[in-house]
């Protein structure tokens, strides 16, 4: 009766808030497919790069089949030292810049100011994309500005041949919007085929491909291969651009049936291309759902059919001397050795729901391929999968471009969201891949890293309404920081079952030091028979956990407080956690940005002052900054910082709760955030 009443009321409330209306399942499905495709298919050129920079080891959370699949991605890479911030370059913040490793420099070009919150549905960029660029030399750790591209673009992939970049900008429109990503191939937007010569710092506009516009690019020997992604709308020829004669030519028809999921990979020697596809017949006959593979010898201009892979895969990637077929969509993929035409199986995927839609690259012994800084990486050197997350909790989906620099991953920009405010980032980072087995200890970077290890945090577990006395009952808490093996705390800490006071609750709380990041907590109960009536629900021996592990975020320097039901060991939700300073910052933009300029020795009160940054309202100049009395003080990443850390020269965002007219102005300071 009560159930029915509650059901009725919940249903009525749902009807009120979400009244039924006509929906178009086709458009909803199309949005889901499009989002999925953007997530999974960042188009990128295939680079076979010399291993140039192999830096300090940083192993992100390693995901194996025994791992807890509920542990979510966080910025663990930062904490593990995996990401190192590089010197800032001349480019403004942006998403979707094209970052390409030439073998000597990383060229970063294009991009957009398009800001779209995580998981939101946005209309599209309001501004045209960028055409400016810069190049970063890892050997000198210096940036240089480069000549602007003749076409503005974002989200494009590139191919590299002989150190030159080639881009096919399929939507080189005057005003390019997000909608054009999908509609461009059928609109009248221009196609620009352009080359950048880093040595001459010179762009050249080349003849566009004579047919079609929707090509992927791959560098193979002295050629740029332009290949179609699918034969579903009829087969059309793939093309070769000869970089020496600047002429296009068609590649003879491949021996495959009509296929989709077509990708081209260069052989390691650059003398052949490997084409991988999946027969379109499999779309109606699942029994044919495997890949077909063929090799085209550039000198002989002849095709050769190769054996099929051991498992279904999606994109082909060239790494070391192998062609790796990545197991996107939940297949098993495989690894092809073109010298023997033999396939090998890949290590099994991690036991994480949806991992197959988040494959972000492959790491070999000498090089790597990366398409995203968020997701799962296949580490061929140790036959395992590694989870990687970008620094600062920034969005890399779908725009922040990455490229392999040797075995490491270079990341430029992206966007970060806090309090409903998005920020375009113009910083550059490098993720150090784990060392391959047998690899020598790498040289340490010659310059000081701009990142420091984050401070640890603390986790406090408080029992809710514990009884004073309970027999036959033990409660232990297993704490696993950042996916590591759990460490057990609390056995006998909460309840004494030995000694002079058996059964007495000795403590109702437990505090442990933990690394900041994601901490998994699970209680373990031991309840003995004959434990007396004070554990009413359990009359039989019980030894185990009644509740699933709970993941708790611990901010650097902060104490996360979790409340636990003493009887079941179940944790209350995250709402019980202390908010991080970033949660307390006002959601509006800072009122003023500046640099701390005091205290001055000749001033009697020795107070901090604010010198405003260029372009700020001079009303606030030289305002007193007293970070006391409830003022929220936040670090750049939202971590807790003490007022003592605010010193002269610190760049800060400042929120005020009102100012009194005076010179200099006297404001009630609401919050201060240290800027990077």
């Amino acid at each position: 009766m009560a159930d029915d009443d509650l059901r009725q009321r919940l249903g009525d409330a749902a009807n009120l808030l979400a009244p039924e209306r006509v929906v178009d399942p086709g458009s909803i499905a199309a949005r889901a497919r499009r989002s999925h495709r953007r997530r999974g298919t960042v188009r990128a050129g295939v680079l076979v790069a010399a291993a140039l920079v192999v830096g300090a080891v940083g192993v992100d959370r390693i995901v194996g089949s025994d791992d807890d699949p509920k542990v979510e991605t966080s910025a663990d890479g930062v904490e593990a030292g995996g990401w190192e911030r590089l010197p800032d370059g001349p480019l403004s913040g942006r998403v979707g810049a094209t970052a390409v490793w030439t073998g000597k420099e990383v060229v970063v070009v294009g991009g957009s100011t398009y800001l779209c919150p995580p998981a939101a549905d946005c209309a599209g960029p309001a501004d045209p994309p960028f055409s400016d660029g810069a190049a970063y030399d890892p050997s000198t750790r210096e940036w240089r500005s480069i000549a602007p591209s003749p076409a503005a673009f974002y989200g494009e992939g590139a191919a590299v041949v002989a150190g030159d970049l080639y881009l096919l900008v399929s939507c080189a429109m005057e005003r390019f919007t997000m909608d054009d990503v999908d509609t461009c191939p059928s609109t009248d937007g221009d196609v620009a085929f352009i080359r950048y010569d880093p040595d001459a710092d010179e762009w050249t506009s080349l003849d566009a491909p004579p047919t079609g516009r929707d090509y992927g690019l791959a560098g193979v020997g002295r050629f740029v291969v332009a290949y179609t992604g699918s034969d579903e709308r009829g087969e059309s020829p793939d093309l070769l651009f000869d970089t020496e004669s600047s002429a296009w030519q068609e590649i003879p028809d491949d021996p495959m049936p009509a296929v989709f999921d077509r990708t081209v990979v260069s052989s390691a020697d650059g003398e052949a291309l490997i084409l991988i596809g999946a027969p379109t017949a499999a779309l109606s006959d699942p029994s044919q759902d495997n890949n077909v593979v063929a090799r085209f010898d550039l000198a002989a201009r002849a095709w050769e059919e190769l054996p099929p892979p051991p498992g279904r895969g999606y994109r082909g990637w060239g790494v070391d001397d192998l062609v790796v077929l990545e197991p996107h969509f939940g297949g098993h993929g495989g690894s092809l050795d073109p010298s023997t035409n033999a396939w090998s199986e890949l290590p099994p995927g991690p036991d994480v729901d949806g991992w197959e839609n988040q494959i972000a690259g492959v790491i070999g012994r000498g090089d790597a391929v990366y398409t995203d800084a968020t997701g799962f990486l296949l580490d061929l050197t140790q036959a395992r999968w590694i989870e990687v997350a970008p620094p600062d909790g920034r969005q890399t989906y779908p725009y922040s471009n990455v490229t392999a620099v040797g075995r490491d991953m270079f990341l430029f920009g992206g966007d970060r969201w806090d309090g409903g405010v998005g920020e375009l980032l113009g910083d550059a980072w490098i993720w150090r891949a784990p060392r391959a087995e047998g690899e020598d200890e790498p040289d340490q970077p010659t310059t000081t890293s701009t990142t420091t290890p984050p401070r640890p945090g603390r986790l406090a577990i408080e029992l809710v309404d514990p009884p004073g006395y309970v027999e036959g009952y033990d409660l232990a808490v297993r704490v696993a920081p950042n996916g590591e093996s759990p460490f057990e705390h609390g056995l006998d800490d909460f309840v004494t079952d030995t000694g002079q006071r058996p059964g007495f609750m000795e403590s109702s709380s437990l505090t442990v030091d933990v690394p900041s990041g994601s901490v998994t907590v699970q209680a373990h109960l031991t309840i003995g028979p004959g434990g007396g009536p004070r554990v009413p629900d359990f009359v039989d021996k019980f030894d185990g956990s009644l509740c699933s592990p709970v993941e708790i975020g611990v901010a650097p320097g902060a104490t996360a407080v979790a409340r636990m039901d003493w009887q079941t060991g179940c944790l209350e939700s995250e709402s019980a956690l202390d908010p991080a300073p970033s949660d307390l910052l006002p959601e509006r933009e800072p009122d003023v940005v500046g640099v701390i300029s005091g205290p001055y020795p000749d001033e009697p009160d020795q107070r901090l002052r604010l010198t405003i940054s260029t372009g700020q309202d001079d009303y606030y100049d030289r305002a007193f900054l007293d970070p006391e009395g409830g003022v929220i003080v936040s670090g750049a990443s939202g971590e807790e910082v003490s007022a003592e850390e605010l010193g002269r020269g610190t760049r800060v965002d400042v929120w005020t709760a009102g100012c009194a007219e005076s010179a200099p102005v006297i404001c009630e300071i609401e919050a201060i955030r240290i800027r990077r």
Binding site: M1, A2, D3, D5, L6, R7, R9, L10, D12, A13, A14, N15, L16, L17, A18, P19, V23, P25, G26, I28, A29, R31, A32, R33, S35, H36, R39, K70, E72, P117, P118, A119, D121, G229, S230, E232, F260, D261, L283, P286, F329, G330, G354, E356, N357, W417, G419, G420, G422, L546, C547, S548, T568, C570, E572, S573, E574, S582, D583, E587
Partner: protein
């Protein structure tokens, strides 16, 4: 990049059948229809990615709800989707709702929103969607005992704010 036309049709058919129920679940989970719909759309992206394993609509529905609960937990950690009050009434309430009923419904929504996500999820699965304890446990990836304890706590919380009487029957203003 091709996907099977058949799979596309199946996916659209699934959406056609399940979408409104998913939006109702998402709306009540987050207390906001717009965010509920966003949550569904996000979850459907993942459902589509896993479609080859999910062609059974019942499995797909459970999978999508599972993703929704998980995503809702993640969204809570992002300030940009911070809880928004629902102090204003929808422009077009159902015609048979009196103003008092509407206020009652919103009180229930607010009380639900004050619950921890896991308790809220259990109450919605158990009492709004009429799923068994075993189904809810399977869907949330927890034990039946946990479903029981979460449901009991959720109901107790509704009771503590006067929305349920001691017998579990809803109180009305």
């Amino acid at each position: 990049v091709g996907r099977a036309d058949g799979a596309r049709d199946e996916f659209e058919a699934f959406i056609s059948r399940a979408y409104l129920d998913l939006v109702r679940f998402g709306t009540m989970l987050l207390g906001d229809p717009g965010r509920g719909e966003d949550l569904v759309q996000t979850a459907l992206t993942k459902t589509y990615g896993a479609w080859s394993r999910l062609s059974d609509p019942a499995v797909a529905g459970a999978y999508t709800r599972k993703v929704m609960v998980r995503e809702a937990g993640r969204w809570r950690r992002r300030r940009w989707v911070g809880e928004r009050p629902t102090g204003t009434l929808p422009e077009s309430p159902a015609s048979d709702d009196t103003a008092e009923n509407v206020a009652d419904h919103l009180r229930l929504v607010d009380a639900l929103r004050a619950l921890p996500l896991q308790q809220r999820s259990v109450l919605l699965l158990r009492y709004m969607e009429g799923r068994s304890e075993a189904e809810a446990a399977e869907l949330l990836g927890v034990s039946v005992g946990t479903v029981k304890s979460r449901a009991a706590r959720g109901l107790a919380a509704l009771r503590s704010v006067g929305l349920l009487d001691e017998d579990g029957v809803l109180e009305r203003d």
